[in-house]
Structure formats: structure tokens, C-alpha cells
Symmetry: D2
Subunit: 247 residues, 4 copies
């Protein structure tokens, strides 16, 4: 079980997150590409930080919306979506390549991530965007996305695009009986008790299952999405990292 987090989300003079503290505990760094956060110089510094800690680098493309931090849906055509994903992935690839590294995967950000999980046509556009980059590459980019109770449709689509998938799950979010993330508006949607978070992480890692209001649910997960915004969340990441190593 790997750990991933969104990093490199500073912008110009403004800092966000504690990248230097959280990156050492990660396996995969989802690096912002300038559309919802970051700028070329911030990307450069984040890439160097990830490479210094041998953390796998992922592109974290978004809708073009700095003011809204990429959290608002934006209607784009399939053609425009493919172009803006390739633009952002390519920008990060060049910055990473110049430092001797490579981009391993793509994880869409915010509203684009949510839209991709709820709209099959949009997911297909995302897959086409990445698959076309893989055609001429020896080390194909994977797509990181949300694991759900039934991933078969997503897997079939990915197979048609010859696109490797990385399924992620959450240790700090409650799940519904059908395997969706409990909406944040619900009470108890986000776990704050670190013991509970640790238990869910270990359960996902060992048994590939998660507790829901109606019992245990089987959930495939290659990676856990964690957060590095503040001291508490970083302590939790470290604890998960250590617990997983012990197991």
C-alpha cells in the first residue's frame, strides 16, 4: 500500500501546504501544474524535492481556475479537455526530465477528478488524453483514480486504452455502504481520530476492505490519499507510514 498526497500547490509568493515535511513520508507526489495552483518555478522546486526523497512523481492537472483552486466544474469540450490535460502533463514532464526524473502517473484534481468519477464520457476523454501520450513512450503514464465497490467498468475502459490504473482510497473518510465517499455535508464524513484513521489504513492495506454503516466492504486500493496541510495531518501521515511499514 502506497501513500500519495497533493503537493506543490503554492503559487508565486503564496505558500500552501508543508511540502518539505510531508514529501519524505510519501511514495507518490501529485504535483500541481499551474492551472489550479503552482507556477513553473514552484513546479521546479517541488520536482526537486520529490526526486531528493525518491518519491514517484504524478501530474495533477485541473480545470483552468486559479481563483477557485480548481474546485469548480467548468464545461469543456472533449477536445479542449484532452488539450489542457496534455498541456499540463507535458509541462511537468519537461521540468521533471530536465532534473533527470520522469512523470509516472496522472491524477486529475478537484472538480475535474469528481467530474471524471461521475461522468463516463469525461473519464474517456481523460483516458484518451493520457493514452495518446503513451503511444510513443517506453514508460507509460498511469491514471490514478478513486477506487469504488465495483471498478469493472473503469478497468474495461482502461484496458481498451492500454492505460495502467492506480486505485486510491482514503483512510480519513467515511464510506457509504455502496462504496462511495460519504459526502462532507454528512456528520462523521471525515475522520479526525488518528486511531480510527490508522485502523482504516491498515484494514485497507491488509484486507483491502473498509467499514461502512452496513458492515465491511471490499475495496481495492493501491494507494492511500493523505494530506500535508498542517502539523496534525503530517503526524497522521507519519503514523500511517510507520504502521504500514510494520505490517
Amino acid at each position: 500500500m502506497l501513500l500519495n498526497a497533493d503537493v506543490g500547490e503554492s503559487f508565486g509568493i503564496w505558500t500552501l501546504g508543508r511540502d518539505a515535511e510531508v514529501i519524505p513520508w510519501l511514495d507518490q507526489a501529485n504535483i500541481a501544474c499551474g492551472f489550479h495552483a503552482s507556477d513553473p518555478l514552484t513546479m521546479q522546486k517541488t520536482v526537486c524535492l520529490a526526486l531528493a526523497h525518491q518519491v514517484s512523481i504524478g501530474a495533477h492537472p485541473a480545470y483552468p481556475d486559479l481563483i477557485g483552486f480548481g474546485r469548480r466544474s467548468l464545461k469543456v469540450s472533449g477536445e479542449e479537455l484532452r488539450a489542457l490535460i496534455r498541456y499540463q502533463v507535458g509541462a511537468l514532464q519537461a521540468i521533471t526530465r530536465a532534473e533527470g526524473g520522469q512523470v509516472d502517473y496522472v491524477k486529475p484534481h478537484g472538480a475535474l477528478y469528481n467530474d471524471m468519477m461521475s461522468d463516463a464520457a469525461l473519464l474517456q476523454d481523460v483516458m484518451e488524453a493520457i493514452a495518446a501520450l503513451n503511444q510513443y513512450s517506453e514508460t507509460p503514464l498511469s491514471l490514478m483514480l478513486l477506487s469504488r465497490a465495483d471498478n469493472s467498468a473503469v478497468e474495461a475502459l482502461a484496458e481498451r486504452h492500454q492505460l495502467p490504473l492506480i486505485f486510491e482510497a482514503f483512510a480519513d473518510r467515511a464510506y457509504t455502504p455502496s462504496g462511495l465517499l460519504m459526502p462532507r455535508s454528512e456528520p462523521g464524513a471525515v475522520h479526525h481520530d488518528s486511531k480510527l484513521i490508522l485502523a482504516q489504513a491498515i484494514s485497507l492495506a491488509r484486507q483491502q476492505n473498509v467499514s461502512t454503516p452496513s458492515g465491511l466492504l471490499s475495496l481495492k486500493a493501491d494507494s492511500l490519499c493523505v494530506h500535508g496541510d498542517n502539523e496534525d495531518s503530517i503526524a497522521t501521515v507519519r503514523a500511517i507510514h510507520q504502521a504500514l511499514r510494520q505490517n
Copy 2:
């Protein structure tokens, strides 16, 4: 002698230039990368147009200044400059790769181009930006820049970076005796007579020299920079294209 022009400089709903009309007559298309003009979808369309006409594709990176069309100098550190060039080049590379093509060269735009020609430290940063991308590539990117009476210092610097150069010259601009472009503020700085433009193009192509107020000047040129903004300039491009083919 090749012909190059700045293309793909539309932005969102706003169009600029007559790309569809001028690209068929070009050998090299300098494609804007979103910092002074263009956006991912416009880049995608421009790349397809260039590939359809077998025109070599160059990245045309700029200072981040849409409002000023990249024509204003912006003080950036060497580190920031390298990052923003790689960002733009990489973005275009991914969009091009997805269509089965490749980016062959980099030509900085506007104020960045002028600053690079007048500031050796900045030129070195530009070269380092590109050279680092070439380290891990089988087909290295070239740098397109302005040919001057004495290119030896530039060539020595490029050799240290193992960076191929493409020297460009202008058929429609008057040159000073020392081989610089006559400033636009001077009378006669820009040729409007198409016979004069053709004659200068042919002279540069055949004898690698150009007329100046104090006589002929030897000027190395691999490519002529032409323009595709309006009917007249496109007619001139076509005429230069045909004249060069006949010679």
C-alpha cells in the same frame, strides 16, 4: 534557406494571424505556448495544421504577459527563466507527441528574444533550459536565434551546451552596417516594397549577405522569418517561397 513564422497566436475566442493560409508556405512554424498568446486548444489545432503540411514545429515560449503579448521585458531569475521555458516547451511537446509529431526547436518570443540577444547571461539561461531537456532525448531541440555579423560568441556558448543552432534573418527589415536590425523607429527600417523584400531574401539565400547603408554585409542565415498577418504579407511569403524554390 528555410522560411519560419510565428503562428498559433490566437487566444480563446480571439483570432490573430491567418495561420491556415500562411502555414502551407512555411518550413518552420513557431507555435505560441500560452504565455504571450494561445491556449491548449489553440495549440492543439495549430499543431495539427503544421503536421498536415509537414512543417517543422518549434516552441515559441515567452514571458508570462498575455496583456502585453510578451513584448515587455520582465525581470526573472535564471532559475525562474529556465522553469518557464521548460514549462512551455514541455506543454507543446506533449500536445505534439499526442498527434504523432515532435517539437524540433525553440525560438523565444518578443521581449524574451530581444533580451536573449542583448544579454549574454540570459542567453546562457535559455541555452541551459533547453540543453537540460536534450540530455535525455534522442532528437535534440535546436535554438533559433538572430544571426548577426559575428556569431562566434553565440556559437561557442552553444557548443558548450551541445545545442544545435538555427540562425534566422529578415528579408523585410533593413540592417545596420554592424549587422543589427535597424530600429523600427528609424525611417526605412521595414521594407514594404515586395521587390526589395524578394531581392533581400534571394541575396541572403544565395550569397548569405545583405545590403546595409555602408555596403554588403556577410550574414549567415539558415531561415528567414516571415509574417502571416494579412493578405499582403501572405502574398509576400508565397513569393519568397517560390523565388527560393526557383533558385
Copy 3:
């Protein structure tokens, strides 16, 4: 019956529309404020053009989306919406005031206009945004919006905000029996025959009614929205202007 059009929609080096040709025929100029199009200098020039032809000036605020030209919905809170409308209106007010003129009304642009017409809560936010500016002003800003078969709810809401309204209608669009604009996807949604456009303009001006598939519909209209994008549309504006003067 007045004539209004969206103008000042150039951006930096990119021009859009034929403002200098259409503004002389207008009574009201809806001037872009930098969020979907325009920039401070373009606004300045457009204001001067409108003042030179004694055309009433309206602010044309939009969602912040240059790439999408303000044509895509963007989820914003009521507080954010009020702030971004005031920001844009105030920016135009200062530029106009410096030239000795004043902004007379506000007409939201594109997706913001459509959202306002279909979402009563959003319309109320728009009204509050403007009404708060009117509290301390001697010459209150009006709100320009789409006239429909039944404007009573809109008028009641405006009265609560003491907000003068300007109802606009279209001479070149077909109407549904219930008084909505025929969706552009329907055949015949946009009139191209200038005789038909003129007839609809005159019918709206004289009888305040419009033809629909199921007969004449009464439609209040203070202003007709016209377009100045190309030679044909400008010729139509001139013809409508002259026909209305004769009547």
C-alpha cells in the same frame, strides 16, 4: 425603443467586433469589464468612443473566464458574486468618471446573464450587488435583463431593491409560444433575413409584441439587443435604427 449592443470585447492585442462602426448607431453600449474580455486600456478607449457618440454606458460584468469568454457557468457563492459584480462595475465607473461620463446601467454577460434569468436566487444576488451601489448615489444604476411573457416576479423583486429595470428583446431571434428565446439548436432560432428582423423590431417597438409559432405574443421591451460583429450585422443595426426613427 432603444438599441443596445455588447462592445469593448477586444483584449490586449486581440480585436473583436467593429465597435467604431456600430457604436454610432446605438443608444446603449454594454462595455466589457475585464473578466470575460477587455482590459483597462480597451475599456478606456471604448468609453471614449461611447461618450463621443452620446451613447449611454452600461457595465457588462461576467464570470472570471477569459478563455471561455464568460460563456461557461461557474459556481460562485452569493457573497463572491456580489463582490465580483461590484468590482467590475466600479472599475468601469472610475474609467468613465475620469472622462466626464457616468455608467447608467448593468447588464450581466453570457453565462452570468443566462444563470440570472433562470435562477431566482442568483438574480437576487445580482440585484443586491447593484442596489448596494445605488444607496449612496444620486443617479441609480439600472439592471438590463431579458423581457419575458410574464415579468411580474422580476419586477416585484426589483421594486424591493428599488432597482430600475431595462427590459431587452431581440429582433433577430425567434421566440417560443411562452415567450422564451428559441434555443439556438432549433432550426430557425436565429433570423438571417433582414426584412424579417426589421419587421420584428418594428412590431416590438410599435405594438410591443412578437410572432411565435402559436401566434402573436405581447412582450414589453425598452431596448433591442443588436450585434456589431461583421458588415452584415452592422448594416442590420443601421437599418433598424433608421426604421425606428421613421416610426
Copy 4:
């Protein structure tokens, strides 16, 4: 002697400065207007904070450069400069007016401030930008700028534009014998000892003079520029505030 500080410099999700802690100790709040920092919603919140503490509101316009935080010079024509200052001032005026307040003065930011102090033509453009807004206003905007050993030329220029001036000085910066700020590259350019800062504040307030390497220099100052970035600087602001009250 008044205290002013740059506030409202957050942007979207990114926060900067501790506005809620420093504003209560200020007399004048220089509020960013969206070009180097801030956005409409942030401006709205900052205005409410200033009004709640009865702090005078100033517009803090800048060159359009979010990535560079307005700290880089940008070549703009006089016409463009006037337009972009009016745009930003007007945007803040509308947001402030809607809350029942008013903008009292304008203090250019960063590189625009420095350019204005070193380039008389640019200072004249800034003054014209503001003076044109004052023509039709009962409560004229003032211009806040740096006090120097000899302010007579600036005062003469302002008088021609009937523009009230607010001269500011620094308690935490060393001054050269000729009354300029010691460049930050020099050792000792910035005071860190709070006793020294307090002494300089009191000296400026009581005797209108300041220590320099060659003795006391007379320096007119209406307002002291202070900073609210961190706990230390806020403690210093509070100490200056209390010391000035006692005197």
C-alpha cells in the same frame, strides 16, 4: 503621526499577512486591488475589516503581475497606466461604497511605487490618473508616497493637479544622508531591534527627523509604513501605536 500597512494581499485560497491582527492598530489600510494580489471577495472581506475598526481605506494598485506580486517593473504607456490605476481604484471604491465606506487615498504598490518615485513622468501619469477621478468628487482622493529630504518638486506637481499628498516614512529602515531608503542590499538597511524602530518612529513623529550615517536629517512624515506579516512585526506595530499615543 498615522500608521499605514499593506493589507488584503491574500489571493483565492492562499492567505498572506495577518490582517485581522494588524488592522486594529492601523490608521490607514492600503488594500490590494487584484493586480498584484487579492480578488473581489478578498477585497470585500478586507474592506469590512477596515470599516469595523474605523481604519481609513486606501487603494493599493499595482502593475498586472500576480506571479511576481507586482514587484517587477513593466513598461506601460501613460495612457495604459492611467487606465489601470483607475480600474483598480474604481473596483475598490465600488466594493467600499456598497459597505457604506469610502476610499480616501491611493498608494501605488511595489515596482509601481518605486518607478513613480524615480521617474517624474510616471509620477505625473499617476497624479493625472487620480486627479481625473477627483474632478467629479466631493471628497478628493489623496496620493500616498515616500517622503524625501526635498519634497518640493513633488509638492509643486501635486499642486498643479490639486492633489492632496500623504507623505510616508519608515521606522524600520535605515536612511542615507540624502534621505533615501538605504538599499536592502546594504548591511543594516533594515532595523530588527524593536527599541531602534521605536526610537526612529518617535523621532519622526515628534521632531520630523531621522538619523543617518552623517547625522540627523529633517524628514516630513504624515504616516509611518508598518508591516503585519508575522507575530514580531505585529508586536512592533502595537508598540509603535502605543508609543505614539503616549506622546
